[in-house]
């Protein structure tokens, strides 16, 4: 079955600071996301993973490269009507459910803000019904609609954040560290919820996180970022079982596992960054599994 690419990113560059001495947060990355899949984006702080997500949803004007969503170049969207349509299609879930919800608004107001902007569900009864439906979809109940954010626990707040993201029936959701601020037992609840609504609504996710165990669990494919570049991308199992880039190997070797026997013998593989002069390109090492390297490096980095 040939999968349809819902998002294509080509040569994306996102620089900050002055033109003479730019900070290259994202430095020439290319990837695509298939419709209905979850692409996990992992990397350390400062690797450019959040910036990538924010560029895709047009929170920044890109420095270079282009982003096509459903075949359309998103930088070329000019009219208010088209922009509104794009905003409806692509939504975001943020890391900190305490900071990303307005404490002066009720759950219902938070969820329906998008309806006002897009002129949807103008009938009061219809709107209340939709809010109730969304709350129930994320595991809350209709009684919660009139409560303020501070009346909810962290996990419940993140559920409201998810309900807000779902309110406009998007097809693509960027989840930027959606579970990092939550407790372990609550993380599992939210991840299960994300998986369940993905199946029900055929959503596509870009899941940005630094917790590799969770990313592996939720993603179909994974992209590993380091210093603004994607160093390796491929099916989740390939990245974990047969990582090729030394940075990926180093990152995987650093993840502690809930297994004392193996932890006692585990050795961390340190990563030393190599500056190269050669042409860096994405080599396909197995189906859909790419490593960004020079030919010389790739030959050296055998399994």
């Amino acid at each position: 079955m040939l999968q349809k690419k819902i998002l294509e990113v080509n040569g994306l560059k996102q620089y900050f600071g002055s033109a003479s001495n730019p900070i290259k947060a994202v430095d020439d990355i290319s990837f695509y996301v298939y419709e209905g899949e979850t692409l996990g984006l992992v990397g350390e702080s400062g690797s450019g993973k959040s910036t990538t997500g924010r560029s895709i949803i047009r929170l920044y004007d890109v420095t270079g490269g282009d982003i096509h969503f459903k075949g359309q170049n998103i930088a070329a969207i000019k009219s208010r009507k088209d922009l509104k349509h794009f905003n409806k299609e692509m939504q975001m879930i943020f890391q900190d459910p305490y900071a990303s919800l307005n404490p002066r608004m009720t759950a219902s107001e938070i969820i329906t803000e998008g309806f006002d902007i897009h002129g949807m569900y103008k009938n009061k009864k219809e709107r209340a019904e939709k809010v109730a439906e969304l709350l129930e979809a994320v595991g809350l109940n209709r009684m919660h609609a009139s409560r303020y954010a501070h009346e909810f626990s962290g996990g419940q707040r993140q559920r409201i954040g998810i309900a807000r993201a779902l309110s406009l029936d998007p097809s693509f959701i960027i989840a930027d560290e959606p579970i990092s601020a939550l407790d372990v037992s609550i993380q599992a609840q939210v991840v299960n919820l994300l998986k369940q609504i993905q199946r029900e609504r055929n959503l596509t996710y870009l899941f940005i996180a630094h917790d590799l165990s969770m990313v592996k669990y939720i993603s179909d494919r994974i992209a590993v970022m380091y210093r603004g570049k994607i160093v390796e991308i491929g099916p989740a199992d390939d990245i974990y079982n047969t990582p090729r880039h030394p940075y990926t190997k180093s990152l995987l070797s650093a993840v502690p596992q809930p297994d004392p026997l193996s932890e006692r013998t585990r050795t961390r593989i340190p990563y030393v960054h190599e500056e190269t002069d050669g042409d860096m390109i994405a080599h396909e090492v197995s189906t859909d599994h790419y490593v960004f390297a020079t030919s010389e490096q790739l030959a050296r980095w055998q399994l």
Binding site: E44, S45, S153, G154, G155, Q156, D183, V184, S185, I186, Q187, A188, Q189, V191, N192, K195, Q196, H210, L212, S213, M214, K216, Y217, I218, S219, D220, A236, Y240, S250, L251, L252, S253, A254, V255, P256, Q257, P258, D259, P260, L261, S262, E263, R266, R268, Y271
Partner: protein
């Protein structure tokens, strides 16, 4: 048998709030031996940080109240000690490392000064001796170019380097007990691995005892000799690291182990979750506090609090499931399968 450094007996800590009295720690008891690492795991609000702050007598009073129990450090109860007496123990005998290195360092003070300050405070040393000792410490915690770093400010260093400085300050007076409250939570995994290696290395050299507070079971498996699992202000399971990970007895521990995917989890199955959220400790539930979230709860769980049942000489769990009359409940399949796989891989 190693000598006992710390013994906590039936500790109760309460906080007065407008809404009522929050019973944050409700009868915690544990022991710590010299050169040993005890990990305290639990979710936010379980009382793990309050317990560790109580050991340093860092609970502000008011609103905090030491409502009962004893903290015996080298056989002496520190709860009745005055602030002045406590100041001698802090830093000297017991030191603490906090989660966020940026907020625990003074942004306007050079790194060298922050380290020598502690040495001069606790040891009768000259300035030049203190500087020499500070250099030693910077080397010990693996800071490259210590001469240069000595004169820098915290903002000039990366997060991992800052946490190393915090550790150097904590070690400045050779404490016998190091309390680390989520010391790697704010760091990237590769940096976390380095800091954990560093702490284990220091422990081996100086025989320091460590209390490690964390919510990450992977980190626990890496650092701990013994583990205390906390829920709703109480220790619900207590044992050696192998006992907790390979023979867990409390349904809450099962839940924690089951809700964390490991690298070999299949993504087709949903994660096991613990439904609901922790109780409000202004009105702690009657009986077993975990009962409303426990799929194996029995009638008695809603009536009487379970005692600590002994599983082995070193392993205890606070659940009625261990009562001789309770029905036999097996460890949930997902958790058991994972344990079997780990043990098999460990033997191979």
């Amino acid at each position: 048998m190693k000598p006992k450094l710390l013994q906590v007996k039936d500790l109760h800590v309460h906080f007065k709030t407008y809404a009522g009295i929050v019973q944050a720690v409700r009868g915690v008891s544990f022991e710590l031996y010299e050169g040993e690492t005890l990990a305290i795991v639990g979710e936010s609000g379980s009382g793990k940080s309050v317990t560790s702050n109580a050991l340093m007598k860092l609970i502000p009073q008011p609103p905090g109240i030491y409502a009962g129990g004893e903290i015996l450090f080298n056989g002496r109860d520190i709860i009745p000690l005055s602030d002045k007496e406590m100041a001698k123990i802090r830093g000297n005998d017991i030191a603490m490392i906090f989660q966020d290195p940026m907020t625990s360092l003074n942004p306007t003070m050079k790194i060298g000064k922050q380290i020598t300050e502690v040495i001069l405070q606790h040891k009768a040393a000259s300035r030049s001796d203190a500087k020499e000792r500070a250099m030693e410490l910077l080397n010990l915690v693996g800071i490259p170019f210590p001469e240069k770093r000595y004169k820098q400010y915290p903002h000039e260093l990366s997060g991992g380097m800052r946490q190393r400085i915090v550790i150097a300050i904590a070690l400045a007076a050779n404490p016998k007990l190091l309390i680390a409250d989520e010391p790697t939570t704010a760091l990237d995994v590769t940096i976390q691995a380095q800091i954990l290696e560093l702490m284990k290395d220091i422990q081996k050299r100086s025989n320091t005892s460590i209390i490690f507070i964390t919510h990450d079971l992977g980190v626990v498996a890496n650092v701990a000799d013994r583990v205390a699992v906390m829920y709703a202000g109480q220790i619900v399971e207590y044992g050696t690291v192998n006992e907790i990970f390979y023979n867990p007895k409390h349904p809450y521990t099962w839940g924690l182990l089951g809700s964390m995917p490991d690298l070999s989890n299949s993504s087709d199955e949903l994660l096991r979750t613990i439904p609901g959220s922790p109780p409000n400790l202004i009105h702690p539930p009657v009986g077993d506090a975990f009962a409303p979230r426990n799929e194996f709860a029995m009638a008695i769980d809603y009536e009487a609090e379970p005692p600590m049942f002994q599983v082995s000489p070193t392993h205890f769990a606070k659940t009625w499931l261990l009562h001789p009359d309770a029905p036999k409940i097996d460890v949930p399949q997902v958790v058991q399968q994972r344990i079997d796989r780990y043990v098999k891989e460990g033997e191979a």
